[in-house]
Amino acid sequence: MFSKTVKPMRSAAWRISLWAALAFACGTMVVFIFLHQFVAHDIQRRTDAWLAGEAGVLSDVAERTPKGVLYRRIVGEVAELASREIPHKRVDNAGLNDSVFFLQTAADGSVGLWVGSGDGSAHLAGLRNSQIVPEIPTSVHVAGFDAPFRVVCVRMNNGGQIYLGLSERDQLRVLGSLRLRFVLLWVLIVLIGSAIVYYSTRRVLRHVQDITHAASRIGEAQLSSRVPTTHRNDEVSQLATTLNRMLDRIESSVHQLHTITGSLAHDLRSPLTAVRAKLEMSLTASARDEESESIVSAMEDLDRLTEFLDQSLDVAEAKANALRLNRVGVDLDDLLRVMIDLYEPSMSEKGLRINLCSAGSLEVSADAALIHRMIAILFDNELRHLRASCTVTISLSRSEDGALLVVEDDGPGFESEVLSQVFERRVRGRNSTGHGLGLAFVDAVVRVHGGKIDASNRKEGGARLTIILPLAAP
């Protein structure tokens, strides 16, 4: 039943490691996003502080330097010096630093002084497009540059303005490389983590699987063996111990059941034997017809009682999975032919037809005596419940799950109120003359062999019983 090994992709270990990896990945991602925000914010804060400081210095210098020939040179030098403080700066084709610019505008808005790469017109256009509040650093996009500039503006006394801009390119590059490294490390860590989780859960669950295998073997074979236990006192070994204790209890109740049914059978059988022998002897002794008539009917009653007793005890044992099996190879095709041979005269006497559709020899591993009785019960049922001119069709074929035996008829079918519980003890149709044990016994026999049984009504009318029995090992 559970003896198949679970495929890795369908195992619980796989699911657990998948979920663990997902939780781990999400957690680390959230932490990283916070860190990233913090770092980006911090870099910007430092940039802005530098910009504000430098812009203050420059405006100071610009205010104090007399507007003479040297003014451009002095302010230009100071701006140039400031730009050298920027690490990782890049230079453009002309050898000028393009990550920093300094722009002084006159009161009319025209370019007064420009320090930076190019002629500053693109920067000026960018500055005009964005609304810049003095003293507050703002990001400005300049045509021709991928990264925006962080710009701070200082208003001068003469009505002109000083703009100091620093490219955010370096900041973005730092953040970009931080992200790349994180993603690589993140993937690596998640993979390693989930592999570790997978192998550790698999190890634990392998013990569970061992227990499952052992337990399923116990169910099929014998009740005296036990599932393997480990010395560690963890959850799995507790499971094994609990299972073993449960098996102890089951074994003892099955044993008790055997003892009870055994002694019940014995205590009833001996007096029954004596009574039957008495009746049989008085039957041969008595010559009078009316006397022998009542003796015979008493004997028949006795036989029915015995049969009922047998079947009740069998069903009780079978329902408790306590039937002892003596498995041999049984050819169902052969058996059905013999059974049909036995039942055909009674059926045709009653006006019933019986057909067998079989693809030939099909051997199952089963207890021959139980299977014989099972088929006899099925045939007895058909014989009892069908009206004249009905047809019973027996089909035997090989299916994926084993031997497939279908018994169908075109009679009245199962009554709808009993259909769902037709395999229960004492459940029988309104017009049934049986004692309601037959199908319960059939069900138990099929189950104890590891097979399946299903009862239904055919769409065209009539009953259908489908039985699957495991095939004999080739």
């Binding site: 004596a274 039957r276 014989l383």
Partner: protein
Amino acid sequence: MRVLLVEDEVEIQGFLQRSLTEAGYQVEAAADAKNAERMSLESVHDILIVDLGLPDEDGLSLILRLRQLGLRAPVLILSARRSVDDRVRGLEQGGDDYLTKPFALAELLARVRNLVKRNTSSATEATRLRVLDLELDLLRREASRSGEILNLTPQEFVLLEYLCRNAGRVVTRSMILDGVWGMRIQPDTNVVDVHIYRLRGKVDTTGRQPLIRTLRGVGYVLKDR
């Protein structure tokens, strides 16, 4: 024919002893395993009838011990257990037989007879069976009455052969099921009766002496007188 009967229930022992004696056997009876072992070693018996539920020992281990001590006679096992367990089935393959309680006395007698016959029968099998004017040719699978061939199906022939082999003795329905179809089942419908009824229609046609007799509550008998 000497029978050793090992049965602890006094009443059943009495009945069995009476009917076996009536059937012409010399019966010695024991009520427990100890006495049975002593009696079995003191004299030779043709057959043993052993109940499995003895007060001092399990019947099976008694049989196994007697076998080890050199017992050759066949054993008919009486069991109050319903499903006969594997060990008993194993013995059956070794030439012994079993009956579950309650049983028909007729069946017990028939099984005893079969066991004794199996043990002493000669290797040569008859090719013809004859009961009064009924004759069976076992090679050609043909049956005839007073020389007139009966039109039997193969199955009917096997059934008639079984009755002929037990002619003059009662056979029960479960014996017929076991002997002809090889099954130990107890159908709760009259399947065997219908077979007999059909066979009788062909064998006991009008104007002939009826051979197949029904003993209600017991079984059937093919008359040989």
